[in-house]
Amino acid sequence: MTLSSPLEMRIRRRQLVLGLGAWPLAMAPTARAAIGGLPSNTGHADISPEWELLRGRLFGARPIAAGSGRVQLIAPLRAAYGASVPVKIVSQLAQTPALYVKRLHLLVDKNPSPLAATLELTPEVGQADFETRLRVDEYSHVRVVSELSNGELHMDSRYVKTSGGCSAPPNRDSPELIGRTIFKLPEPPKMDAPTTADLTVIHPNDTGFELNNVTVMYIPSYFVRTIAVSYAGRKIFDADLDFSISENPTWRFNFVPHTPGELRAEVADSKERHYTGSLQVG
């Protein structure tokens, strides 16, 4: 795989943080095989060897409450496309300065880079519900770990089945559109209440593992690295992302507008290119 230098450093940094070597999951203990060749840990709430490893690296010995109901992850058992698995995070907690969801970690246990996203939230989110689309490389648990402002950790997980097939390569006919950052409000804004917004960044979000069928060369990794979203100059959330997020990364989120203002996203990708998008609200 050919990596640009900043990206290589970034992946190495992630691997160091997670305590992983080069493509470490291949070395992780595999799940036990059940009759018929399926792993035995296919229950939505089951753990996996990969998660055991990640958990220690990301959260140390901190207790994580599983299935507490504080956070819920919604994902299909069999996604229409493995390259674009819709997931929804639902938080059963209103964002108040006294207690709020401070951080959300979205993981795909068996992906080459399992930490798909880390979101740093503020109470300005109003309601910490998020939707996005993930790449799920093989049968895997998808997990969300919600970190509250009081330090509590809560987790929910779903087991997702995906597989390959024969198809045409993704459309890359419009490179000039890369970085275009678009906001949409599915409904009119509500002042002083959580308002839903959709953010899409046009970007191939290439993993580096995909073969170009024409050139028979691997398409180099190239993906959206960070997104910082603000409203009227106040931070809503920051996202630290990876190529486990699908092509044309899309996020549905909430924010609380108190006065008319500008919804703004600042985006950086793995080639250190920067893009912005904005929408006047109210």
Binding site: G82, S163, G165, C166
Partner: protein, 175 residues
């Protein structure tokens, strides 16, 4: 080995290789094979006769779209063949429809006809509210009731139901 014996052995081997790589749903499933009507660069599969039979026999439709040059299709078909003894009884409430395509038949060239309406792949998927509009993947399976109402959102490809247990999940509409 004499020349004639070598010839017979060669012929037998060729027959075995051909059987192992046979295209389409194995005969044990008594598939209704649908070849496309090809004209002006489009391949049209008519689901009308399958639907009429489903209504007549009050059976569900298990519509399989495979391609003659698609390795994933051969894998699924081989899986079905290998497990026919176990699986065929579970397919009894279904009519298996085998649409035989090629990888060069892309989404804009593949048409599906039901009665007077013929739609290309993407429009057909939109019409039945199927999420698989973005990309045509071989192989694909649709599940319909006798009124052609989709019974479950299916994944692109068949890799998620290539164990007996998972194939039964699909036939039992486990989501």
């Amino acid at each position: 080995m004499t020349k004639s014996r070598r010839t017979i052995a060669g012929a037998l081997l060729a027959l075995l290789v051909t059987a192992a790589n046979a295209v389409g749903i194995p005969p044990a499933y008594t598939p209704l094979v649908v070849e496309p009507a090809v004209s002006a660069g489009r391949s049209e599969f008519d689901l009308g006769p399958a639907l009429a039979r489903a209504k007549r026999e009050n059976k569900r439709l298990y519509v399989y779209l495979g391609a003659s040059d698609c390795p994933y299709c051969r894998r699924y078909e081989n899986f079905l063949g290998k497990n026919a003894d176990e699986l065929v009884p579970h397919f009894k409430p279904w009519i298996v429809v085998d649409l035989r395509s090629t990888l060069s038949t892309t989404a804009n060239r593949l048409f599906i006809r039901v009665g007077d309406t013929s739609l290309n792949y993407t429009d057909f998927q939109r019409a039945i509210d199927d999420q698989r509009t973005r990309m045509l993947v071989y192989p694909s399976v649709w599940l319909f009731d006798p009124q052609m109402k989709p019974l479950m959102q299916m994944p692109a490809g068949t890799g998620t139901f290539e164990t007996v247990e998972e194939q039964l999940e699909i036939l039992n509409l486990v989501q």
